[in-house]
Symmetry: C2
Subunit: 348 residues, 2 copies
């Protein structure tokens, strides 16, 4: 049967031309996958007409008349645009026509629509945004990266459970280590939320490493890093900003005068190898985790290579049964996900 992926063809900065190319390339390297392109039929057909590939047999088109704008409010997208490409793509997951959905559109709208249409898994209050980041040792999976700005300790524990299941399924690590993002390794440090979460994680059956600091993300200290969406989003965006600045500075230094430009020319393979190692396109595709369905958010700026990675991510999660893994882990949790303070009040 293979795995079918519903793709919001209208999302992101580039729309159908880039998304169609990415989809075809993805299908060429993934023989048991198929793609349903959702959006304005004319635009999609036009983009499809310019590609020649036998993989095009595995592409179908599903018309949707509306488009969610990048800066549109989630409520407006959810209530006002029931025939948006995003909404229809998520509906295809709900009705079983597709096993996963990928969109490069508005994150808030995608989260709101996915929650409304697919609902959360039993035991999960709120979905989170999880993504891989490159590290010295390989990669780490961090969550939440921006879906939830006011979290409870119980929710952070749920993020830890979901992140562990995701890494276990996709990366084949049986008991992934979980780090709690904090500002010091000692237990006494951190805010109230983090302290309470640390107690819950210690009592859980997760492979809890303990507190980690910002620099541990790139050291690759743990397989999973858990934080609230505010902190996670700041860390992610700060990293993006720093990486771009450093790349620009490096380019500037290698183009400052003709001699340096020549040197830069010789150094091009080295600089390219460096760039490839940390190329954010290879890490494109954040998982909206905790839903009854696989939904992957691509960066809005994604080019064909980047979008292809997002498609691969969605495919891999379905192929490895991530949803089932999370559900199993939640069911197997030996301690109820409640704060110790609440538990003790139950004793009375």
């Amino acid at each position: 049967m293979g795995i079918s992926i519903a793709v919001d063809a209208m999302g992101g900065d580039h729309g159908p031309p880039v998304i169609v190319v990415a989809s075809i390339q993805f299908l060429e390297e993934t023989p048991d996958a198929s793609v349903i392109l959702v959006g304005r039929e004319g635009d999609i057909r036009k983009a499809l007409s310019s590609v020649r590939s036998i993989a095009a047999d595995r592409v179908s088109v599903r018309a949707a008349t509306e488009v969610v704008e990048m800066h549109e409010g989630p409520a407006s997208a959810l209530r006002g645009k029931k025939d948006s490409s995003m909404r229809v793509a998520v509906n295809l997951v709900k009705d079983g026509s597709a096993q996963a959905c990928v969109s490069a559109g508005n994150t808030g709208a995608l989260m709101a629509i996915s929650r409304f249409v697919l609902k959360t898994l039993p035991g999960i209050d709120r979905p989170a945004i999880a993504s891989q980041l490159p590290t010295r040792k390989g990669a780490t999976t961090a969550l939440d990266l921006g879906a939830n700005v006011n979290c409870t300790a119980e929710q952070l524990v749920q993020f830890a459970v979901m992140g562990s299941a995701l890494v276990a399924a996709v990366d084949g690590i049986e008991r992934p280590t979980v780090g709690l993002l904090n500002i010091g390794e000692e237990d006494i440090k951190g805010n109230d939320l983090v302290k309470e979460t640390a107690e819950l994680l210690k009592a859980s059956d997760l492979n809890f490493y303990g507190n980690v600091e910002g620099d541990d993300i790139y050291k690759g200290t743990t397989d999973v890093i858990v934080c609230d969406g505010f902190v996670g989003n700041v860390a992610l965006k700060t990293s993006e900003g720093l990486a771009l600045m450093l790349a620009d500075f490096l380019r500037e230094e290698f183009t400052r005068n003709p001699m340096r430009k020549l040197l830069g020319l010789f150094a091009l393979p080295v600089l390219a190898a460096f760039k490839r190692r940390v190329d954010p396109r290879r890490y494109n595709g954040a998982t909206l985790i905790g839903l009854k369905g696989v939904v992957v958010k691509s960066h809005g700026h994604a080019d064909a290579l980047a979008f292809r990675y997002a498609l691969k991510k969605a495919y891999t999660e379905v192929a490895h049964g991530v949803l089932e893994r999370i559900a199993q882990r939640l069911a197997a949790m030996p301690v109820p996900v409640v704060a110790p303070s609440l538990e003790s009040s139950n004793d009375a």
Copy 2:
């Protein structure tokens, strides 16, 4: 008279040998400054005996028998070690023997001792840690970077006032722009703390730019960036971790084989120029701001160059009257620093 700086000679990873060299170099380039080295007299004299400089005339030694350990708790350092080099250095600021204090020791202990000995400025609840970060446009001053993990909106406004005064005094920018670190530019985004703070900042006479995101730090969008100490510390440490990883990857790529090593040799001046632009040593020295005295915290790993920058920072802040500037700004605040919700309850 000049400016006298009390230096905790025992703090940091390297102690007197590095701190003495940094102090002498600093004095050689700053003719109207003097330094009081505080710590174990034997160790300091020994380090001093190995340097030859006419600037050594402006060095005096003040004995202190105890040393605050890097991982010692603030309470233990404050109550248990009244003759620590750190405590004695801060005392010298309190009694007017020095106009500023610099330490590469334990941050928590330095903050606790400074608050206890020097007290906070009128109108300031809690001191913050402020530091400059390099940007595409030059530098931005961010605070709080880790002193306060649970902040109120009023405290964040105080950080904004202090950061503005610091930048106005030291960088000569009359009305520095202030950005509030958030996870989206729209007003509706962010957690409750940030939303409340934004309202207060809009009502203040500060040059409030609005919300900024993590990547705005390195874009140099605003002169000052305000956030709570948890978020600020995560952003700072994440940046450090990413920069170190990228530097290592770059080095690895330029040493992968003999050909690349040769290329790296030719590229050395370019790579050095690149490194110099973002050299964290040039940004060493975080200000413990909000105290009745200038206290600068150096990175614990600081070498002589880095520690010299921390000394320069302390000197510059005294020379530019940062404390007086902050006091003036606080006194001139046209609106009381209280949340609107509290104000309206006063109307009743």
